[in-house]
Symmetry: C2
Subunit: 353 residues, 2 copies
Amino acid sequence: MQRYWSRVTQQLTPYVPGEQPKIDGLVKLNTNENPYGPSPKALEAIRQATGDGLRRYPDPDASAFKAALARHHELALEQVFVGNSSDEVLAHTFVGLLKHDLPLLFPDITYSFYPVYCGLYGIQYQEVPLTHDLSIQVEDYLRPNGGIIFPNPNAPTGRLLSLEQIERVVAGNPDSVVVVDEAYIDFGGQSASTLINHYPNLLVVQTLSKSRALAGLRVGYALGQAHLIEGLERVKSSFNSYPLDSLAIAGATAAIEDTAHFQQTCKAIMQSRERLTLALQGLGFEVIPSAANFVFARKPGHAGADLLAALRERKVIVRHFSHARIADYLRITVGTESECQALVEALKAILSA
Amino acid sequence: MQRYWSRVTQQLTPYVPGEQPKIDGLVKLNTNENPYGPSPKALEAIRQATGDGLRRYPDPDASAFKAALARHHELALEQVFVGNSSDEVLAHTFVGLLKHDLPLLFPDITYSFYPVYCGLYGIQYQEVPLTHDLSIQVEDYLRPNGGIIFPNPNAPTGRLLSLEQIERVVAGNPDSVVVVDEAYIDFGGQSASTLINHYPNLLVVQTLSKSRALAGLRVGYALGQAHLIEGLERVKSSFNSYPLDSLAIAGATAAIEDTAHFQQTCKAIMQSRERLTLALQGLGFEVIPSAANFVFARKPGHAGADLLAALRERKVIVRHFSHARIADYLRITVGTESECQALVEALKAILSA
């Protein structure tokens, strides 16, 4: 019955997200969720919006949310694009700005959704190998291309590029769009959003799922000069006129405005990350320096898949990727102090068994 | 700076939704919103879900909501697909099931998003003219095609096809997918969902925006045999793993389960529609028989655009389409009794001026 599917559907290799099991007592460190809750002000804004008004369509432009983002990033309103998660924003970006005759470039080890989007939209791409220590090398991106995309910090390695390195990629590719996917930028990196007014080819993508603790609300956005945003708006308005529901608009606006909660929780996560890194190193793990809310680590002599399974038996779940270059590694979300400790204790027990 | 846009983006003609003005005292009858609020149980379920749990990703399968839909429509779980509005569900349907070598067929007068999706995904299509009285004629759809889509009742005419007529289209096209877009089916029509187990090529699309009064929550769904749903799941998982946020899942599940509120509000709207139709006919309007929550009407000798503008001056907004065949018509949402009366009074004043 696949005969009813379009050719592109038959050829797709869909993305597989980290699991969302509903098991009591689980220590869930597999999908980089924030261990602290969202801003109480965001929750209150959602409650205020929960009423008869839901019979109305939302503001198709989500103007209130865009205005909050413009203020937060010190950009103009027409330099902001919003969507139902940064995954949706990325999807529109792939078809809207990254589909050209020359191949799109992205790292061989990176967010594994990128090649999936290419499959959906028929985009040619080349994977650029990370160096031996899993770093992005700027020089590798200074060659003919139809676009460039990478996360900063990169996923799942957690490695950060400096703003100067980002600028070299952007300045070195004036004819193609460079997308910096900053899902994890708030945990120690410097956003490239400050470069936007200098470069017509730079698009920065962010999400409220990690540093704003609103994975359940599905809100993401892109920042760039007005002509790039206009391109994205054209795609959005050819797909779904109202991607953000009224509750998401209300909650996301309040979340962006609550700077105190944001800074405090990001700081706590960065502190836990440093402690977790030391604890893992104490157990003999090699931990890649991380600027994200996760660490990427391996224990020489132990296969990642085996550790994953052993942790799961102890009700701790983390993430593992089968790509050969990183098959030894585990990606471990930075949880609360007690979650991190539970993970470390479980690893101790596994390694001493 | 359009040089950064992909070719498809440069060529797009995006959809333009009905406006959402924020003007006090406006009688807003332009976007077919439900004049009654959503189920109080849906609002309560949203409030219950508004908490720290929003830091977690939603269930990517929205299993609770799918289960409620399966029960409501007496179908299996794997016969249900859900998305962030029926617009998103339709978009995935276009690229997933309607993109083939032969052209897609849809009426010349219909939901104006259909040709926009075709532009986004590069789908060939043929518009099939409605008859002189703006009816869909079944025989016109019994010819070679790569897929068929139409709303039932049709938009913006409101005209309904019987279940028997739908079945003739579906049975007559065993090699292509027939999509029945039932955004307005709950206001007097018979859903084709009862045919699903008999036809492997039938997909039914519904929304919670109209009869469930949740336009602000952005929830839609599709029903069909498992192989069609699997095709849609492949596209969804190549676009956005979690299209429905946790609040939408909670509210939509409760809304589907609240049958009493649903039936009562639909009945009230149908009664108002009949009264509004009579009142308009009393003013000399020709009103197409409607099975939707709107009426499509014209007053001989008066241009639709002129009436639209005159109504707007009196703070009543309705919708008008510039397509030549229907340029005389106004599409008027069935509001509350007092909203309908305000519209009729405004028209009386305009016509006697």
